[in-house]
């Protein structure tokens, strides 16, 4: 009975397909890890004169090297835990040493400690996230403003659109260090230069999407507003803005994920000491592949969370706008 229920639930939902894909990825990953780490492991055995080993011992050793070519999943998982969840544990212990603190301030101390420690991935993720969000916000405002201008002014349509498209043909890796250097020279440093790299990437899908969105009302709807002798701003706020909503959320999902890419890329060529990009960079300097992979997973998780947050806002907005349940 129970298994029948489980089975039907699994078959109907997304759970089973997702589980199948995840386990396939895990299998491929472990096979690749053994393969790629084999040469190094053989070298280790040779140097330490180990001549006899069992297969299981060999596999176990390849999957638990200090600096593997491809770290195994559990190594990454452990590293992730040590630099996030476990931080709370050790910080809690530290906070508890101070007898004077109450439970609330102890909790607060723990959160502050876990998210400011240099070894904490939460700290690095937050550094990158703040640049991402700031850059995304500026990019959204810029993209929407450009789209408003382009839709309302023929001159802007003709003059701006080619530049907007051209801006995206420049590789971000080439322009990122220059943005940082130039802004530093004029005294702007900290989170803003990185955020501006995110902006540079994220304004584009928003601008292009919203131009299309603002132009999406049907002729008949525009005629209707015309018969009311509605002003341009009334047409915009009562018709164009709402017509553009589906386009806004689609472009925002793209924009927020490339904002994250922009923030990480902004950390790479600039010698940043904090942030997911910095973790990637220092990991590659010192051959800390486990650290690189865990930073990658953190970035992926962040992107997933950000995109689904936009999705939540979208669902809320479409419900507000009376969409079919």
């Amino acid at each position: 009975m129970f298994s029948a229920i489980m089975k039907s639930k699994l078959m109907q939902g997304k759970t089973l397909p997702v589980l199948i894909i995840v386990s396939l990825i895990l299998i491929v990953w472990y096979v690749m890890a053994v393969r790629l780490n084999t040469p190094w492991q053989l070298g280790v055995y040779e140097r330490s004169d180990v001549t006899e080993w069992t297969t299981s011992q060999f596999i176990n050793d390849t999957l638990n090297q200090d600096r593997p070519v491809l770290p195994s999943v559990h190594q990454v998982a452990i590293e992730l835990w040590n630099t996030t969840g476990a931080k709370f544990g050790s910080c809690w212990g530290k906070a508890s040493d101070e007898q004077s603190l109450g439970i609330i301030s102890k909790t607060w101390e723990t959160i502050v400690c876990a998210s400011t420690s240099r070894r904490s991935l939460i700290y690095h993720a937050w550094i990158t996230l703040s640049a991402t969000l700031l850059g995304f916000t500026i990019g959204s405002v810029l993209g929407i403003s450009l789209a408003i201008g382009i839709v309302h002014s023929r001159a802007m349509d003709k003059s701006m659109m080619p530049w907007i498209i051209a801006s995206q043909t420049i590789p971000i890796l080439a322009i990122a260090p220059m943005i940082i250097v130039v802004l530093n020279a004029v005294g702007v440093s900290g989170v803003l230069p990185k955020a501006l790299i995110s902006t540079y990437l994220s304004f584009f899908p928003i601008a292009v999407g919203m131009v299309k969105g603002f132009r999406s009302p049907e002729t008949i709807q525009l005629d209707l507003m015309y018969t009311y002798a509605a002003s341009k701003s009334q047409v915009f706020w009562k018709l164009r803005w709402f017509s553009a909503m589906p386009y806004l959320f689609t472009s925002m999902k793209i924009a927020i994920s490339i904002s994250l890419v922009g923030a990480i890329v902004g950390e790479l060529p600039t010698g940043a000491v904090a942030g997911l990009g910095a973790r990637l960079l220092s990991g590659s300097y010192y051959g800390q592949t486990v650290q690189i992979w865990s930073a990658l997973f953190m970035a992926a998780a962040l992107a997933a969370i950000l995109v689904s947050l936009v999705g939540v806002v979208e669902r809320f907005a479409t419900a507000k706008m009376g969409a079919r349940a």
């Binding site: 015309y226 009311y228 002798a229 009562k238 018709l239 009376g322 079919r324």
Partner: protein, 260 residues
């Protein structure tokens, strides 16, 4: 009494790749206050174009037209008319009452007055009780009624209707025709109504304008002899058939029945 709409030698020519298209050619027509005027004719006869010129949605290339003694542009700026399109064109993110409120918001009407107008116009089209519904929750006929309510909302004395029931089935159409007649009887608005349907034109109108295409022109203007009170079964009467016959004659004279 000055006519509400007056057209003199009104012409409109669209340029096209196959040479100019004469959508309207020297149309002379007066529509007086309180009249219900139908425009009938095959596609391309300029009946919709005439309505759009009156509404300032198209600019004529020759002749003159006045609406309430003003140019169409002035009349539009003055919100002298309400326009009902072929499709309901309701804004899907607004409820019925908020759709009706749209023109009132645009003219900047106060909150209390707005609520009164919405209530009254929704009563007129029998949509009381559907204020909070979204367009997708309504049938096609109800959506078109909501769009008529929207056109009535700011009390313009002139109603321009461009095949408002063209997309509806005949049963719903009969019902809406009856309601529209009642509304016209109650409010004594001037209505200009474009249609494809001979029975609809005869049943509704006090005056029928028969038009023909290439170039779009007026073939016949028929003053209806039917009384103002018209039950649905008036359509079985001899008078009704006589008028319908004259409409058909007009269409035939305009080669509307010729093979393309």
């Amino acid at each position: 009494m000055n006519p509400v709409i007056s057209a003199k030698k009104l012409s409109l020519t669209f340029p096209s790749n196959d040479g100019p298209v004469h959508a309207l050619s020297e149309v002379d027509l007066d529509i007086n206050a309180g009249e219900f005027v139908s425009f009938i004719g095959p596609s391309g006869c300029g009946k919709t174009t005439f309505l759009r010129v009156v509404a300032d949605l198209e600019t004529p290339t020759g002749g003159e037209v006045t609406v309430n003694g003003k140019s169409p542009h002035e009349a539009r700026m003055n919100r002298d008319y309400g326009y009902v399109f072929q499709a309901p064109a309701l804004l899907p993110w607004r409820t019925v009452e908020r759709n009706v409120a749209l023109p009132l918001e645009i003219i900047g009407m106060g909150k209390k007055e707005k609520a009164e107008h919405i209530k009254r116009t929704l009563e007129m089209v029998n949509l009381t009780g559907f204020e909070k519904s979204y367009p997708w929750q309504l049938s096609g006929g109800m959506q078109q009624r909501a769009s008529i309510a929207r056109a009535l909302a700011f009390d313009a004395d002139l109603l321009l209707m461009d095949e408002p029931f063209g997309a509806l089935d005949e049963i719903v159409r009969d019902h809406l025709n009856e309601q529209l007649l009642k509304l016209w009887n109650d409010t004594k608005k001037t209505i200009a109504f474009v249609t494809h349907s001979i029975p609809e034109a005869v049943y509704l109108s006090t005056k029928i304008v028969v038009m023909s295409p290439r170039p779009g022109r007026v073939i016949d203007v028929i003053q209806s002899t039917l009384p103002d009170e018209r039950p649905l079964d008036i359509r079985e009467s001899k008078e009704f058939f006589d008028i319908a016959h004259r409409v058909r004659e007009g269409l035939r004279a305009g080669h509307s029945y010729d093979e393309e």
